[in-house]
């Protein structure tokens, strides 16, 4: 039983990471209809930047803060320079561009930091805490807390602030938002910036447990995708809950179903995507999209 709880908590920690990245995917998808393929690589890039700062002597939290700021600016910059020129054209073109971005950033990271994995000492020690006979890793708890706090902050931004209102309006009805005075192009840049921030959080939280190397977030991107699909592609809450559910599910399956082990968890995630899309395409929280004839 103790092992089960440990696995659940551990799964929630991974799930927090998947959920953060999934939320980033949903954010961009909701506002522009684009599935940002580069979201994972950008998250890895953020993790590398954080690592570099720490390597140069910065303490973790200041490095993390700086990374967040840089990621926001980077995300907004990418939207303004690469996406904006073609965002009025077919969505497929934009998506292929994000694939190109995925490739380019992946190559860039290998170029700068090399392909070998790096040790990333997170802010939390891996020492266990014992609660009632069950050993929890401090790191797992820390990851859960930080991912939930970030998600909460983003939610507050969207639901309670004027900026958030503008962001939501620009996503729902950009033409009308402009008539109301909302600077839609700027909202899109902010949206991408926030998505990059969520990605940075996911990347930095993932780095201690996975090896920090250029391909680190590729599997996480797929898990995030599975989480977003599970939650309903345009539902922010769904993305987060989907992430948590998926994290726990994958951990339990990986532990208790032996031939799956650690390696085939991705295959399980892919099966989840497929299953959801076949049985209930709208996911847990999404709206069934009515296809206009």
């Amino acid at each position: 039983m103790a092992n089960f709880i440990q696995q659940v908590v551990s799964g929630l920690a991974s799930g927090g990471i998947y959920g953060s990245l999934a939320l980033a995917l949903v954010l961009i998808h909701r506002s522009t209809g684009v599935l940002n393929f580069a979201q994972g690589e950008l998250a890895t890039l953020s993790a590398f930047i954080c690592w570099s700062l720490i390597d140069h002597g910065w303490a973790f939290w200041p490095a993390f803060g700086a990374t967040i700021v840089l990621s926001f600016l980077g995300g907004a910059a990418i939207q303004q320079t690469l996406i904006r020129p073609i965002q009025d054209g077919p969505v497929l073109g934009v998506v292929i561009l994000t694939i190109g971005l995925l490739i380019a950033v992946n190559g860039l990271m290998t170029w700068i930091w090399g392909g070998a994995g790096k040790q990333f000492a997170g802010p939390f020690s891996t020492a266990p805490i014992n609660v009632g006979g069950v050993a929890f890793s401090k790191q797992d708890i820390g990851v859960i807390v930080i991912s939930l706090v970030s998600v909460l902050l983003i939610w507050l931004l969207f639901a309670r602030t004027k900026l958030g209102l503008g962001l939501r309006a620009a996503a729902v009805n950009p033409a009308e938002a402009r008539l109301t005075g909302v600077r839609v192009p700027m909202m899109l840049a902010v949206g991408w910036g926030l998505a990059a921030v969520l990605g940075a959080v996911a990347g930095v939280l993932a780095a201690p447990s996975l090896f920090l190397e250029p391909n680190m977030m590729q599997t996480v991107l797929l898990y995030a995708f599975a989480a977003a699909v599970l939650g309903g592609m345009d539902s922010p809450i769904g993305a987060v809950i989907g992430g948590l559910v998926l994290g726990v599910l994958l951990n339990l399956v990986g532990t208790y179903v032996h031939w799956v082990g650690g390696e085939l968890r991705l295959a399980v995630a892919l099966a989840v995507i497929l299953g959801v899309l076949i049985v209930r395409p709208a996911g847990l929280f999404g709206h069934t999209a009515v296809r206009r004839v």
Binding site: G107, L108, F225, I273
Partner: protein, 328 residues
């Protein structure tokens, strides 16, 4: 049409003539280009014509490559005969993937195929009894290799091993090009493009969308399988590192660069995949052992291409006077 025939004729002529002035090493490089060429042809069928994006074609190449390797090394099958078998195996798996793929549209399919490409090396390593795990399978010097150990003679001329590989790869390449050309020009191709352009209209016209989409996946995978098989034969070695995620990504870049999914551009894409790494390493300060810069430039090429695409399409429309046929 006549232009296409002339272009085709010139292309075949060039293929026949090229090995003579070129060194042996360059010849085998061009042979590898041929393998990529065939894989990209497959991708063109899928992405260019049926509108389904695949980021996992490296995986189908791997299926073909490993089928060839396993048959040659464990079952004593002559390399030539493994090629059609590789095509069948890859094609079958393509069909199996194509069926659930029906449920996925556009980018979701791309993500799912991306997933396949990412998971592939892990699977290859896990089933190491069959695949030789991380060390892979060496084909060099095996008796099942044609052209190695004994000389191949064609029309009274002795071919070196590399020339043989070139001849093999490109003969198959040209044949498959003709096949795909005919296929896309036929009713099959038209129905495929109808499905791509408007699923609803195609359904209303009585085209069974599912059959065509799955068939496209199967054909596309079979082509990639042949490409992978030829790659294995060319390089005489397969391992999980022969088919990394980057390969799948490069294949897509190659297909897009090649006139956005047209089979007439496949050669450009194939040349790009083979020679961009070399070009990149010509740039000063870039160490030829580094893989990062190459990948970066592939990505940059794709980004720049997509940024220029609207402009290029307009230019193309002006030149060919055909309006926005590819406006999608």
């Amino acid at each position: 049409m006549r232009v296409k025939l002339i272009a085709f004729g010139l292309g075949v002529l060039a293929l026949i003539v090229l090995p003579f002035p070129l060194s042996d090493f360059h010849t085998v490089q061009l042979a590898t280009v041929g393998a990529y060429f065939i894989a990209i042809l497959g991708l063109d069928v899928l992405t260019g014509n049926s509108g389904q994006i695949s980021l996992g074609h490296g995986a189908f190449m791997a299926v073909g490559g490993y089928t060839t390797a396993i048959l040659m090394s464990d079952h004593g099958v002559r390399d030539l005969w493994t090629i059609p078998i590789a095509a069948l195996v890859a094609g079958a798996i393509g069909v199996l993937v194509g069926i659930p793929a029906l449920r996925l549209s556009g980018f979701y399919l791309a993500l799912a195929t991306f997933g396949i490409a990412v998971v592939l090396p892990t699977i290859l390593k896990k089933f190491d009894g069959l695949t030789g795990g991380s060390t892979g399978i060496t084909l060099f010097g095996k008796p099942t290799q044609t052209g190695h150990g004994f000389q191949v003679t064609i029309l009274g001329r002795h071919l070196t091993n590399n020339e043989w590989l070139y001849a093999l790869t490109w003969t198959i390449g040209v044949v498959l090009f003709v096949v795909v050309w005919l296929l896309l020009d036929s009713r099959f191709g038209r129905s495929l493009r109808a499905v791509r352009d408007s699923e609803l209209a195609a359904a209303a016209s009585g085209v069974n969308r599912s059959t065509y989409k799955v068939a496209a996946f199967g054909v596309s995978a079979a082509f990639a399988g042949v490409g992978g098989s030829l790659l294995a034969i060319n390089v005489a070695y397969v391992s999980p590192d022969t088919f990394p995620i980057q390969l799948s990504l490069y294949l897509l870049v190659g297909a897009v660069v090649g006139f956005y999914g047209s089979i007439w551009g496949a050669i450009i894409g194939a040349l790009l995949i083979q020679f961009l790494p070399d070009l990149v390493h010509q740039v000063p300060h870039i160490d030829s052992k580094q893989a990062g810069p190459t990948t970066f430039f592939f990505g940059a090429v794709l980004i720049v291409l997509m940024l220029l695409l609207p402009f290029l399409l307009r230019l193309g429309a002006l030149l060919t006077n055909r309006g926005y046929s590819r406006a999608q």
